[in-house]
Amino acid sequence: MIHQNDQITKSPDLSIKIGSLVLKNPVLLASGTCGYGTELDGLLDLDQVGGIIVKGISIRPRPGTPPPRLVETPCGLLNSIGLENVGIESFLRDKLPWLRNVKTSLIVNILGNSVEEYSEIAKKLDGAEGVKAIEVNISCPNVKAGGIAFGTDPEAAANVTRAVKKATDLPVIIKLTPNVTDITKVARKVASAGADAVSLINTLLGMAIDIKSRRPALANVFGGLSGPAIKPIALRMVWQVVRAVDIPVIGIGGISTSDDALEFLMAGAKAVEIGTATLIRPSTAEDVPADIRDYMEANSIQNLEDLRLPE
């Protein structure tokens, strides 16, 4: 075959690599907002999504916190689900088989209340067929340290990272909490502790009061704030962390459109996660990569890296 025109426009390449993890596109479903995948059946073609990060899994099932668990805030959502999940045994037995049939990368989000718990879950996932990577939620309370979140203490965060890395050969993504003075400190620590990537941000701690019932609107008083409201904070932190560490950064926070996603990619994120937006429009994670492709074609951008702003 003879190429008549050297300038033939190649279709943009949306695939990315995060360590040994290859994703067909940089748009992932964020943990806690896509259930275990099955719930989206018929509403979102999971095969078109870069990856799915299932609801955070703990060593034993957790019932979660009492209701009310949700409050809508201006352009935001406060939740205190209390990390309700089926536990690792049931996940492997009841949820994983279905997920294996989906043609996208499966990432399992894990949580624990001690370094040992994290390590134990990671071990159980290590051999599990179909699991492509682990995302570690370090926003959980460190029971041994009086309940202070692992993610707010760089040393504790590094300890979790090391333990999980030791327990598995899977790529390990550490998911950072934004409720800190300087997120680059935690990012640097977990990077040198061996993390293959970091993802950020998890939710911001917030609350609301129901002035009619004169009570905190969440039974748990505090909850995690997500959605478009937090995007500017998330983007700032991603920008900072991209410039602080050499490992890939995955951007999360208030992404609902390809324009939002492009902001994060331009800030230097390698990939993005869609959280709250999926709750509102289940097809978001299918639309966003398609629209990113359109943007790249329209602007003759061939590779995702070329989206990053020059320093």
């Binding site: 806690g32 907002t33 896509c34 259930g35 719930e39 989206l40 018929g42 509403l43 609801k55 019932p63 979660g64 009492p66 209701p67 009310p68 668990r69 949700l70 409050v71 809508e72 805030t73 201006p74 352009c75 935001g76 959502l77 939740n79 689900i81 309700e84 019932s213 009570r215 039974a219 959605g227 478009p228 609902s256 709250t276 999926t278 709750l279 509102i280 429009r281 289940p282 097809s283």
Partner: protein, 264 residues
């Protein structure tokens, strides 16, 4: 069960009484697969605004063979206020049909107990039951204007009774009074379906339990997704520290499953 997320055209938006609206949209796919007691999540934000952020859950009130579905709703806050401003010809995004509806029992008298706009999910089951057996409909409200659509119900059965607290329609009193009266007249097995304010449903359940009559309740909970993604719509179970999820396992539950003592 198939679900659809459809940009649906509004064909009717009627204010039936102060703050109470009937909205009809064209959504054939949803209409076609809707079961009695199911609901939809409606986008209430205007145009490309992102506030309000979440969709709002509304029960499927009526369906028509031409692909129309109707919602009967009350303007209570920001979202329903915005929804009530939308006009025929405009588009609202509707996700549905969602949840587990009523499990219809056909071998015994069925008693529908609705309180206020809690009647919204009861019309479809009433229509189905009517075709197959004995149907009792009991409706309660503060006053007549809170239940502007009772004529949709009154023609379905001879056994139709209304109670209002101010006596403006039917018997003065509570719908639970009607239920107690009805149960005195029923001798054999029966089945209750109910929807309304929590205290009313709780009272209905207690009456039913005393008489050993099975009772299905349609619950409400704040929802973000309506499809089981977020686990936000929890209601405590009666028999454990675990939770029911209204959007996925419900909104209709056997009343026994629910911890009726829970208040925040």
């Amino acid at each position: 069960m198939p679900k659809f997320d459809i940009p649906a055209e509004i064909v009717e938006q009627t204010q039936l009484a102060h703050g109470i609206f009937l909205l009809t949209v064209e959504a054939p796919a949803i209409q076609n697969s809707a079961n009695p007691g199911q609901f939809c999540m409606l986008e209430v934000k205007y145009n490309n605004s992102r506030d309000p952020l979440l969709r709002r859950p509304l029960s499927i009130y009526k369906t028509q063979a031409n692909g129309h579905i109707s919602f009967l709703y009350k303007k209570v806050g920001k979202g329903t206020r915005l929804l009530s401003k939308r006009r025929p010809g405009e588009i609202v995004r509707v996700l549905g049909p969602l949840g587990q509806g009523f499990r219809l029992i056909h071998d015994r008298p069925c008693i529908l107990v609705g309180g206020g706009l809690g009647i919204a999910p009861l019309l479809l089951p009433a229509e189905r039951i009517k075709q197959s057996g004995k149907l009792v409909i009991l409706i309660g409200a503060g006053n007549a204007s809170e239940i502007p659509t009772i004529e949709d119900f009154s023609g379905l059965t001879r056994y139709f009774h209304v109670a209002t607290e101010d006596g403006s329609l039917g018997q003065r009193g509570m719908v639970t009074d009607l239920l107690a009266q009805t149960l005195q007249e029923i001798t054999g097995m029966a089945q209750i379906y109910t929807c309304g304010p929590w205290p009313m449903m709780k009272a209905v359940y207690h009456i039913a339990r005393k008489k050993n009559i099975p009772c299905q309740v349609s619950l409400e909970a704040t929802m973000a997704c309506g499809i089981g993604l977020c686990l936000g719509c929890a209601v405590p179970k009666s028999d454990s520290r675990e939770f029911l999820h209204v959007c996925k396992e419900g909104p209709v539950f056997d009343a026994d499953q629910v911890n009726w003592e829970y208040t925040q």
